[in-house]
C-alpha cells in the first residue's frame, strides 16, 4: 500500500521544515500515553466544531473560488432584490411561528397544571376533614414525579441537547460554536414537550428560557426551507443555506423567543445583540426587531382570543408582571440607595446560587451521566419539591381571608372557613402566577415568616433543579426567589419606618426579583430592558439598571454567571470578546497546531480518502499547497479547502481522469455544495473503488484561493481579534516563504483563559 506513506511524506516534510525553524524550542519531552482524568472545568471538548461564520470556505460570499464567481455572474439585480424580500418574509414567519409555539406552551401548561392542582386540591380538601393527609402528599408527589419522568425520559433518551434552558447553547451557537443537534426540529419538539411536562410537574422552573431556544430552532428551520428530521425539502430559500445567513436568522429567532416570553421586543433585540453579536449591522437589527414585534403581537392576539376578550390585546408575553402604576407604586429618590443595597444582596445570593450549582453540576457530570440515573434524579427532585411544598403548607399557620383575593387554587387546610393558607399561594401554583402574586398582592397578604421560609426553600430547590435533564428555564425561579425576599425586605422596611412612606412591598419585590436574576445570569443591558418592558413602566428603568449593575459587580467578584459557568463546564471552546489580557507574549507559533496535514493542488484520490477517514486527526480544513507531481518538494500555500467540500467532490467523483473521459458530465455547481449543507455525509458512506484511488483530483477550482493567513510572529491577541471579528474557523500560519507552518483553530485560542493565577491553559479532551 502506497497511500499511507504518501500522506506521511508530506507530514514528515512539513515536520522537518518546522524543526529547522524552531530548533531552539525543541525540548525533549517524555512520551506520554493519553491519560484519563476526571472531568473538570479546565477542559475543552473536541466534540464541538466551530461553525464557519465568515469562514472563507463555507461562506461563499467570501470564498471567491471559481464556482462562486460563475454564480455571481449569473445573478442579476432583480434576483438580489428578491433575496432581500425573502429575508423579510422569513423574519415574519419566524415571528408568527414563535408566537404560536409560545401560545401552545402557555395554553397547554395552563390547562394541565389547572387539572393537576384541582385534583390535588380536591384530595386535600377531602382528607382535611377525615384525616389521612399523608395520602394527599403521596398523590401530589407521585403526580409530580410521574409527569416529570415522562419529561425527563424524552430529554435523556431522545435529545439530550434539549436539556436546560437552552440559552447557553444558543449563546455558543451565536458565538460560532456548532453544537450538534442544537437547531433541529426534533430538538424543538422535545424542548416544547419537555418544558410543558416539567412545568406541569411542579418543578421549580419556568417556561421562558426555553422559548429562546425554540425561537432559534424555528428560525433555523424556516430559513433553510427544509427539515432533515422530516426528510422534506420544500425547495425554497435555497439561497440561505449557509452558515452566515442561518446565523442571522437564528439571532432573529432568539430575539423573537425573548419577545414572546416576556412581551419585550426591544429586550429581545438587545438580547441577541448582547449574547450573540460579533458583528452587527443596522439592516439586520431592523429585521430582528421586526421578527420580535411580530412574535409578541401574534402571542398577544392569539392569547386574547383564547381568553375571550379578542380585541384588547392584554397579554403580550408568557409572563406578565402586571401593571405597575406610577401613582400606587412609584418610587422616590430616597429609595435609590435602598435599591442599590438590594442589588448587593442579589449579587451575593446569585453568587451563592451559582457556586452551589457549580458543585452540583460537576458531581452530575462525573457521576450521574447515565440516562436512567438522570431520569431517576429528575423524578426525585420532583417528588421532593412536592413534599417540601406540602410540608411548608402543612406547617404554616398564616391564614388570609379569601374575600377579595385573587387566589386561583385557595387551599384551606387548617385555616378557618373562609380563609386560605397563604403559604399555599406561593407553593401551590405555577411559578409564574406566584411571581405576579408577590408583585401585586395587597400589603399584608403574606406574613414575614412565610416569605422567609419560602425564600429559603425555593432557593435550594431552584438551585438543585437547574441542570437536571429536563428542559426548563431559570428565569422564573430566580425572579420568584428575588420577589420573595424583596417583598420580605419591603415589609420589614415599612415595619422599621413605622409604615411611613414606603408602604407598598410590591416594588421591593420587583427590585428583589431583578437583583436576584441579575446576580444569577449576569445579563446587563438586555435584562434591564426586558424587565422594563415586562413591567410596562419606563420610570422603573433607572432603579432596575442600578440594581442589575450592582448585582453584576458584586456577583462577578465571587463567581461568573450561570450561563458562562455551564458553557465552561461543558468544555465548549467559547471565545469571549477579547483575548486574555496577559497573553501578548504568546505568538502564533506557540499557539498553533503543527504539523499540518496539507493537500497538493492536484492530489491523488487515495490520499484524500485516507486523510479524511483517519479518525485520529479529525481536521476540518486543509491547506492546499503547490507541488509538482513527481517531486516531494513542498512549495507555498495556494488555498484552503474544507472537509465538506472534499466529500462533495468525492461523492460526485470529480476526478481529472473522468473529466477527460466523459465530456458530457455536467459541471459541479455551487448548488451541489449547498444541497449537502448542513449535514454532509460521512466519509465512510462514500465508496471509492481501488481504480479510482489512483485517479487524481484537481482542487484548484474549488479551494478558496485567498485564505486568511498570519505570520508566525503574530501575537495571540491579534490572532484572537481576527477570529472574533471575522468569525474564522481556520487560520493558516505561514513563514516568510509563504510555506505552511501551522494552523490555528478555535480550540487553540479558547484554551487560554485568565484564571486566578494568571494565564491558564486548558487541556483538550475527547468526549
Amino acid at each position: 500500500q502506497l497511500t499511507p506513506s504518501s500522506f506521511l511524506r508530506i507530514g514528515q516534510l512539513s515536520n522537518v521544515d518546522l524543526n529547522e525553524d524552531v530548533h531552539e524550542l525543541e525540548t525533549e519531552l517524555p512520551r506520554q500515553r493519553p491519560n484519563e482524568i476526571p472531568h473538570n472545568e479546565k477542559l475543552l471538548s473536541l466534540k464541538y466544531e466551530a461553525s464557519a461564520l465568515w469562514d472563507a470556505s463555507l461562506d461563499y460570499d467570501n470564498s471567491e473560488n471559481q464556482l462562486f464567481l460563475e454564480e455571481e455572474r449569473r445573478i442579476n439585480h432583480t434576483a438580489f432584490r428578491t433575496v432581500e424580500i425573502k429575508r423579510w418574509v422569513i423574519c415574519a414567519m419566524i415571528g408568527i411561528l414563535t408566537g404560536l409555539v409560545a401560545c401552545f406552551i402557555d395554553i397547554v401548561v395552563e390547562n394541565l397544571a389547572g387539572l393537576k392542582y384541582r385534583v390535588v386540591k380536591g384530595n386535600i380538601d377531602k382528607f382535611t376533614e377525615k384525616g389521612g393527609l399523608s395520602f394527599s402528599l403521596l398523590l401530589w408527589a407521585t403526580l409530580n414525579a410521574s409527569v416529570v419522568m415522562v419529561g425527563s425520559v424524552i430529554v435523556a433518551f431522545i435529545e439530550p441537547v434539549a436539556a436546560g434552558s437552552g440559552i447557553p447553547q444558543i449563546k455558543c451557537y451565536l458565538n460560532g460554536v456548532k453544537i450538534p443537534h442544537v437547531v433541529r426540529l426534533k430538538t424543538l419538539v422535545i424542548k416544547v414537550c419537555g418544558v410543558i411536562l416539567s412545568v406541569v410537574g411542579g418543578l421549580a422552573v419556568g417556561k421562558e428560557g426555553p422559548m429562546i431556544h425554540s425561537g432559534a430552532v424555528i428560525a433555523a428551520g424556516i430559513s433553510q426551507g427544509r427539515s432533515t428530521s422530516l426528510k422534506r425539502d420544500f425547495k425554497i430559500f435555497e439561497y440561505f443555506r449557509r452558515d452566515t445567513e442561518k446565523r442571522d436568522f437564528v439571532s432573529a429567532g432568539a430575539a423573537a423567543g425573548v419577545s414572546a416570553a416576556f412581551g419585550a421586543p426591544v429586550g429581545g433585540v438587545l438580547f441577541s445583540l448582547e449574547e450573540g453579536a460579533s458583528f452587527w449591522n443596522q439592516f439586520l437589527t431592523w429585521r430582528i426587531f421586526f421578527a420580535s414585534m411580530i412574535s409578541t403581537f401574534t402571542l398577544n392576539s392569539v392569547l386574547s382570543v383564547y381568553h375571550g376578550n379578542a380585541w384588547d390585546l392584554s397579554s403580550p408575553g408568557l409572563i406578565n408582571f402586571g401593571r405597575f402604576d406610577n401613582e400606587k407604586m412609584g418610587y422616590t429618590i430616597q429609595e435609590i440607595p435602598i435599591f442599590i443595597f438590594m442589588g448587593v444582596v442579589g449579587g451575593i445570593l446569585g453568587a451563592l446560587f451559582n457556586a452551589l450549582n457549580y458543585w452540583l453540576t460537576m458531581f452530575r457530570i462525573r457521576y450521574i451521566h447515565r440516562p436512567c440515573l438522570q431520569v431517576v434524579e429528575a423524578m426525585l427532585v420532583a417528588a421532593v419539591t412536592a413534599t417540601v411544598g406540602f410540608v411548608m403548607i402543612y406547617c404554616s399557620r398564616d391564614c388570609q381571608p379569601i374575600q377579595g383575593s385573587t387566589v386561583a387554587y385557595p387551599l384551606q387546610l387548617f385555616c378557618a372557613d373562609g380563609e386560605y393558607n397563604s403559604m399555599a399561594t406561593a407553593f401551590f401554583n405555577t411559578p409564574e402566577k406566584s411571581v405576579v402574586n408577590l408583585f401585586h398582592d395587597a400589603p399584608g397578604s403574606y406574613n414575614p415568616m412565610t416569605l422567609g421560609m419560602f425564600t429559603l426553600m425555593y432557593f435550594f430547590l431552584a438551585c438543585w433543579t437547574y441542570g437536571l435533564t429536563v428542559s426548563a428555564g431559570v428565569f422564573i425561579p430566580s425572579l420568584l426567589i428575588g420577589a420573595a425576599w424583596g417583598r420580605l425586605f419591603g415589609i420589614s422596611l415599612s415595619y422599621l419606618t413605622k409604615g411611613s412612606i414606603w408602604a407598598d412591598p410590591g416594588k421591593y419585590a420587583l427590585m428583589g426579583a431583578a437583583a436576584q436574576l441579575g446576580g444569577i445570569v449576569r445579563m446587563t443591558l438586555s435584562l434591564t430592558v426586558i424587565m422594563m418592558e415586562a413591567t410596562g413602566n419606563v420610570t422603573y428603568g433607572f432603579p432596575i439598571m442600578l440594581v442589575l449593575m450592582t448585582a453584576k459587580i458584586v456577583g462577578d467578584y465571587f463567581v461568573e454567571g450561570l450561563y458562562d459557568m455551564h458553557i465552561q463546564l461543558q468544555s465548549v471552546p467559547f471565545l469571549h470578546w477579547e483575548a486574555p489580557v496577559t497573553s501578548h507574549s504568546l505568538t502564533a507559533r506557540e499557539v498553533m497546531s503543527a504539523p499540518v496535514t496539507c493537500l497538493r493542488r492536484i492530489e491523488r484520490v487515495g490520499t484524500v480518502v485516507d486523510i479524511l477517514s483517519d479518525t485520529s486527526s479529525n481536521h476540518n480544513g486543509f491547506p492546499v499547497v503547490e507541488s509538482n507531481p513527481g517531486t516531494t518538494q513542498v512549495a507555498g500555500l495556494r488555498g484552503l479547502i474544507l472537509r465538506s467540500q472534499l466529500i462533495v467532490l468525492l461523492k460526485h467523483k470529480v476526478f481529472v481522469e473522468r473529466a477527460n473521459l466523459s465530456l458530457v458530465q455536467r459541471r459541479l455547481k455551487l448548488k451541489d455544495f449547498r444541497d449537502a449543507y448542513p449535514r454532509f455525509p460521512p466519509i465512510q458512506s462514500i465508496h471509492v473503488s481501488q481504480d479510482e484511488r489512483e485517479c487524481m483530483i484537481d482542487l484548484s477550482e474549488f479551494m478558496n484561493p485567498s485564505p486568511y493567513t498570519v505570520p508566525q510572529e503574530a501575537s495571540l491577541p491579534r490572532v484572537f481579534k481576527l477570529f472574533r471579528a471575522l468569525g474564522l474557523r481556520h487560520l493558516v500560519v505561514v513563514n516568510n516563504r509563504n510555506e505552511v507552518v501551522g494552523m490555528v483553530t478555535r480550540k487553540d485560542l479558547a484554551r487560554y483563559r485568565l484564571g486566578k493565577e494568571g494565564l491558564e491553559e486548558l487541556s483538550l479532551a475527547q468526549t
Binding site: P4, N15, T27, R31, Q32, A383, T387, V391, E590, P595
Partner: protein, 309 residues
C-alpha cells in the same frame, strides 16, 4: 326582615354583626330641621327668579327634584344597610327608581328649542356636573357590590337562589341563637359543643349552597363579570363562617402529623440514598486527554511517525 332579626340577637352576635345596624335609622332632629330650612330657602330662591332669565323649565326642575329625592333615599338606604351588609336586598328598589329618574332627565328634551332642553341644561351646562357625578357614584357602588348577581335578570327583586340562600342563612342564625340560649358567653368561652353538634347540618347546607352558587357564578359569568357573588351573600357567609370557626371553634380538622412526617421524611431521604449510591457505585466519568499537536511536543510527534515507518 333580616335587620329586624339582628336586633333581637344575642349581644355577642350583635357585637359580631356590628353596632351600626342598631343605630342606623336614628337621626338628629336638630340637623333635620336645619336641612329643611335650607331646602325652603333654596326653593324660595329658585322660585323667586324672574321669568326673564329662563334658568330651568318647570318640568325640568321637577325632574331634578325627583332625582335629588331619589338619590337622597338611595344614600340613606345604602348608609343604613352598610353593616351588616344588606345593600342589594334593601336598596334595589331605590336604585331602580334612581336609574329611571336619571333616564328621564337624560331623555327629557323639554318643550322649548334645542338649546334649552333639560338634559343639556341639567347634565352638561357646568363644570361640576353634579348629577352625572352622583349617578356615576351610585352605578359604581352598585357594580362594586356585584348586586346584579343576586337580582333577577330584570332587576325586579332578588333571584331565587339568593332568596334560598338567605332563608338558609336565617335558619342557621336561628339555630345558633337557640343553642346558645341559657349560656353566658363570658363564662364559658370554649363550650360551644352544643352549637357545633346541633347546627352542623344547617351550616353544612349553607356552606354547600354558597359553594354551589360560587361555582355556577364562575362558570356562567363570562370574563366581563367578576367572579364574586353579590356582597350581601358574601358578607352573610363570611359572618357565619367566622362565627362558626372562630367564635364557636367548630371546625376542628383532623391533623395527622405523624403519618405526614413519616411519609415526607421517607421521600426526603430518597435523594440522599440516590446520591450516595451513585457516588459509590457509579463509575466516574473519565475524560481522555488528547495531546495537542504543538511545536513543543515535536519530539513525541517524531516518535509517532517513527513507529509508523
Amino acid at each position: 326582615m333580616a335587620p329586624l332579626r339582628c336586633l333581637v340577637l344575642l349581644p355577642a352576635l350583635a357585637l359580631a354583626l356590628g353596632p351600626a345596624a342598631a343605630e342606623g335609622s336614628r337621626r338628629l332632629p336638630a340637623l333635620e330641621a336645619l336641612g329643611q330650612a335650607e331646602e325652603l330657602a333654596e326653593e324660595l330662591w329658585g322660585a323667586g327668579l324672574p321669568g326673564d332669565l329662563p334658568e330651568l323649565e318647570p318640568e325640568c326642575r321637577q325632574l331634578l327634584a325627583d332625582f335629588a329625592e331619589g338619590s337622597a333615599a338611595l344614600t340613606g338606604c345604602l348608609g343604613r344597610s352598610a353593616r351588616p351588609v344588606r345593600l342589594c336586598q334593601a336598596c334595589h328598589r331605590h336604585y331602580r327608581h334612581l336609574l329611571a329618574q336619571y333616564g328621564n332627565i337624560a331623555r327629557a328634551v323639554g318643550n322649548s328649542s334645542e338649546s334649552h332642553n333639560c338634559a343639556k341644561s341639567i347634565l352638561t351646562s357646568d363644570r361640576l356636573q353634579i348629577v352625572v357625578t352622583l349617578s356615576d357614584f351610585f352605578n359604581e357602588t352598585w357594580e362594586a357590590a356585584n348586586c346584579p348577581n343576586c337580582l333577577k335578570n330584570n332587576s325586579e327583586g332578588l333571584s331565587n337562589s339568593t332568596v334560598e340562600f338567605l332563608d338558609l342563612f336565617n335558619k342557621s342564625l336561628t339555630c345558633f341563637e337557640h343553642n346558645l340560649q341559657g349560656q353566658t358567653i363570658h363564662l364559658s368561652v370554649n363550650n360551644y359543643t352544643e352549637v357545633c353538634k346541633n347546627c352542623n347540618k344547617t351550616y353544612k347546607m349553607l356552606n354547600d349552597l354558597y359553594n354551589n352558587l360560587q361555582r355556577t357564578n364562575r362558570q356562567g359569568g363570562e370574563s366581563g363579570h367578576s367572579a364574586h357573588l353579590c356582597i350581601d351573600v358574601e358578607d352573610a357567609m363570611n359572618i357565619t363562617r367566622k362565627l362558626w370557626s372562630r367564635t364557636f371553634n367548630c371546625s376542628v380538622p383532623c391533623s395527622d402529623t405523624v403519618p405526614v412526617i413519616a411519609v415526607s421524611s421517607f421521600i426526603l431521604f430518597l435523594p440522599i440514598v440516590f446520591y450516595l449510591s451513585s457516588f459509590l457505585h457509579s463509575k466516574q466519568k473519565k475524560r481522555i486527554l488528547i495531546l495537542p499537536k504543538r511545536i513543543q511536543s515535536n519530539a513525541s510527534l517524531v516518535n509517532i511517525q517513527e513507529k509508523y515507518s
